[in-house]
């Protein structure tokens, strides 16, 4: 029987607070006290770290002002699955969903040096149009470059159909028969991505503008940017996997 005052129990309590999107130490005394203990007591910090590690979670940042940010390690049960993100979607839509998430991060952090900034300093807000235009420009540039090359092999004959072509063939704005915006247009996919991040307390939506929050800034700066780069290298250069 575990007492409420022993370290493993307290570590579990702290991790569960960290997993709650809406939890904030300013609004919850227990959360704030656990964070203070985590920051002040090295032995407790180690218990929490090991506890999180067992759950395949990485503690990215903890502060009594803002809370705790946890990242799911590869393959973790706490990682967002494709079906959690958008139930029943085609491969192309899943691809676009992923590309849009990368584009959002890249728009917030346009250069490598920006990732070195203090996460408590608010970064520029983004808009759906801005991300859409950024992606379209990249796609158009790749399209121009491809015109100099021979025609691509159809996807059925080897899967050499590039990702940018999927984006290019999706309309930016498409209306349904009843004049509603189609959920599969790139504009709506970007909107969906930003709204999803708002639900996760990573962005704040106000009018046309989406502002990145501390939680998102910590996640990208401390974890996601370098992981994304490693994943690209691994997946796009199969020869390196064997090294």
């Amino acid at each position: 029987m575990m007492g409420a005052d022993d370290a493993p129990y307290a570590a579990g309590r702290l991790v569960q607070w960290g997993l709650r999107n809406g939890a904030h130490p300013k609004r919850n005394d227990e959360y704030r006290a656990l964070l203070a203990r985590y920051l002040d007591r090295l032995e407790f910090r180690e218990v929490v770290r090991r506890f999180a590690e067992g759950l395949e979670l990485e503690i990215l940042e903890a502060s009594t002002e803002h809370g705790m940010v946890l990242a799911p390690l590869p393959g973790s049960a706490f990682a967002t699955q494709a079906s959690d993100y958008r139930p029943s979607s085609s491969e192309d839509t899943r691809l676009l969903d992923g590309l849009v998430q990368v584009a959002i991060a890249a728009t917030v952090y346009p250069r490598a040096m920006d990732l070195l900034g203090d996460p408590t300093t608010v970064r520029n807000p983004v808009t759906v149009t801005e991300i859409e235009e950024t992606l379209r420009q990249l796609v158009n540039r790749l399209d121009e470059a491809a015109k100099q090359q021979p025609d691509p092999i159809p996807e059925e004959a080897g899967g050499l159909y590039e990702a940018w072509r999927v984006y290019k063939h999706r309309q930016a704005q498409r209306s349904t028969k009843d004049q509603r915006s189609s959920p599969l247009s790139t504009h709506r996919i970007i909107e969906y991505a930003l709204d999803y991040l708002c639900k996760q307390h990573c962005f704040q939506h106000k009018g046309q503008v989406y502002r990145p929050l501390w939680r998102y800034q910590v996640l990208v700066q401390e974890y996601a940017a370098s992981r994304a780069h490693a994943a690209v290298k691994r997946a796009l250069n199969p020869s390196q996997e064997k090294l």
Partner: protein, 564 residues
């Protein structure tokens, strides 16, 4: 006397005699006037010839040899006080503000008259005044405060004020001060410093305005140290020194009764105390993130030592200022403007005192933070080995890759079976951890065993209507209203408009008129047995406050009371 021959004399005059012979010749010429005359004549001829020929170029090697023999003055040592470099850095913070002045000149006529420097100073003033314990201002608040200034600038320039344009302009101004165009990176400028007498070009990076998270969903605008230095006119001082100077001034002003100025200085002192706290908060935060970003070998111990001694001094002075303010308050009439100002000064300095007490406690524990972080970070793995350019190194390669490979990179092992297990998935990394949904069997069972809810009936069998005796009127009209209205209907065949006019002419109250209208409608609907019949006339009417289609009203012949 033996005289030298003429050739020897001419050789001496030309300076071609060997040194030993030349000395003997000089001794002879001192005693022999004839020989000296020959030499002088020859020399005069040579000089005349030289003048006739004009100046001859001096051989370069002669000049070099001569210049080497000229004694040179020692070069003066360069003196460059370190304070000058510090002032250079502070002055360079003016560069973005001066760029605003250029922007004024470049704008279109509709907005050219807005003085951005004045607006910037007002924004800075608001931010400084409100910085402190959770009373920070955000962008919307600053814009709201700038609107009246822009309005007045429009009026002065004879331009019709436009509130929408004002808000847009204030937003653009704040955006420039934050350097939004450059993704809020610091402004950069170069200056010359001297290192051991040699000029060195150095670069300074600084912010003017920053936005900070207050909590998970609120932001506040903050002035950088550089902007604070500029705004508070303290080019010569670091934060700590400026604070000491300000508090000295406040005490002197209170003693001299200059309360209005003292209030302004007290506000500045508070801004300084906030800056000081932020400076150390930032250093400790950086230490917790990555202690290699902070110089704990030399800079940090020095800063902590200076900070602690500075704070001890501040706490003592602040207590004295508060005490002086209280003593002055005793001699002022309660509620007077002077008393209010002194109370305001005391409150501001008291706030500084509280903040410094807290900061003193933080600094005392700072070394512990360092040792703790050293233990924690010394052997911690560094996951952030490479900071990528997300556009160039992640997004572009993904877009250019074949679709299947890009999907594999985005979804990890879900998207590509041949990847090693537990491969990174980009999309999962970009989304925070969230608790997975898990099935609770007990909850499911209890849900399944709930009694079935009765569904609301969507339709029901219509039972045959049983008409009771016809109700001549709706029940909610009292009998006296019905009694007043009925005679108008009994007058025989008439139009509804006519019936309403009769009642209105008799000054019947509104309920009576409504009752008549309702009776006519009931007769027209014909959905209940009634002897009163109503048919459309095809014309519209407007009378006695009613309008609509007019109706012909008449009683059936079976009605015994229908006869007029």
């Amino acid at each position: 006397m033996n005289h030298p021959d003429r050739a020897k004399l001419l050789a001496y005059a030309a300076g071609r005699l060997p040194e030993a012979e030349a000395k003997g010749m000089e001794a002879h010429l001192e005693t022999c006037a004839d020989c000296a005359g020959v030499v002088d004549t020859h020399l005069d001829e040579v000089v005349a010839l030289g003048r006739a020929l004009g100046p001859a170029p001096v051989p370069v090697e002669w000049e070099d040899r001569l210049m080497r023999q000229v004694p040179r003055p020692e070069p003066r040592k360069v003196t460059w006080p370190p304070a000058l470099a510090k002032r250079s850095r502070v002055l360079l913070a003016l560069e973005p503000l001066l760029a605003l002045r250029e922007w004024d000149a470049r704008r279109d006529e509709g907005t050219r008259h807005y003085d951005t420097i004045a607006l910037t100073l007002r924004a800075f003033d608001l931010i400084v005044e409100s910085s402190g314990f959770g009373a920070e201002v955000n962008e919307e608040t600053v814009i709201r405060e700038l609107l009246p200034l822009l309005h007045q600038m429009d009026l002065a320039a004879g331009v019709p004020p436009d509130r929408g344009q004002h808000a847009a302009f204030a937003t653009r101004l704040l955006s420039r001060l934050r350097n939004d165009e450059e993704a809020r990176r610091p402004f950069r400028a170069t200056y010359t410093d001297f290192d051991q007498g040699r000029p060195v070009i150095r670069e300074v990076a600084f912010h003017l305005l920053e936005e900070q998270f207050i909590d998970d969903e609120r932001f506040a605008l903050r002035l950088s140290v550089e902007a604070t230095n500029l705004f508070l006119s303290a080019l010569d001082f670091e934060i700590e020194d400026a604070q000491a100077a300000l508090e000295g001034v406040i005490q002197s002003q209170i003693e001299r009764g200059r309360f209005e100025e003292a209030v302004q200085f007290a506000r500045d002192a508070r801004a300084r105390s906030v800056q000081l706290q932020e400076k150390f908060d930032r250093l400790l935060r950086e230490t917790r993130r990555d202690m290699r970003q902070v110089d704990w070998r030399t800079d940090m111990p020095r800063l902590l030592g200076e900070g602690l001694s500075h704070l001890q001094g501040r706490l003592r002075v602040e207590q004295e200022v508060i005490q002086t303010a209280r003593e002055r308050l005793e001699h002022l009439s309660p509620g007077s403007p002077e008393a209010q100002q002194v109370a305001r000064i005391a409150a501001l300095i008291d706030e500084c005192f509280l903040r410094h007490t807290h900061l003193h406690h933080v600094l005392l524990g700072a070394r512990e933070v360092f040792f703790t972080e050293q233990d924690r970070q010394a052997f911690a793995p560094r996951p952030r080995t490479h900071l990528p350019d997300l556009f160039r190194e992640v997004l572009e390669p993904l877009l250019a890759a074949p679709r299947d490979q890009a999907l594999a990179a985005l979804e990890g092992e879900q998207g590509r079976p041949d990847l090693p297990s537990r491969a990174d998935a980009i999309r999962a990394a970009l989304l925070p951890a969230q608790a997975p949904e898990s099935l609770s069997l007990s909850d499911l069972t209890s849900w399944l065993l709930r009694p079935k809810r009765t569904l609301p009936a969507t339709s029901s069998e219509a039972s045959e209507l049983v008409w009771e005796a016809a109700l001549p009127d709706p029940l909610h009209y009292p009998p006296e209203v019905q009694a007043s209205g009925e005679p108008y209907l009994q007058r025989g065949a008439a139009r509804l408009s006519q019936v309403l006019c009769w009642a209105a002419q008799d000054a019947q109250p509104a309920p009576v008129l409504e009752y008549l209208g309702l009776r006519a409608l009931q007769a027209f609907e014909n959905d209940r047995p009634s002897l009163l019949r109503a048919e459309q006339t095809g014309t519209q009417f407007e009378a006695a406050g009613f309008y609509g289609h007019d109706l012909d009203l008449q009683w059936s012949a079976a009605d015994p009371e229908a006869t007029p």
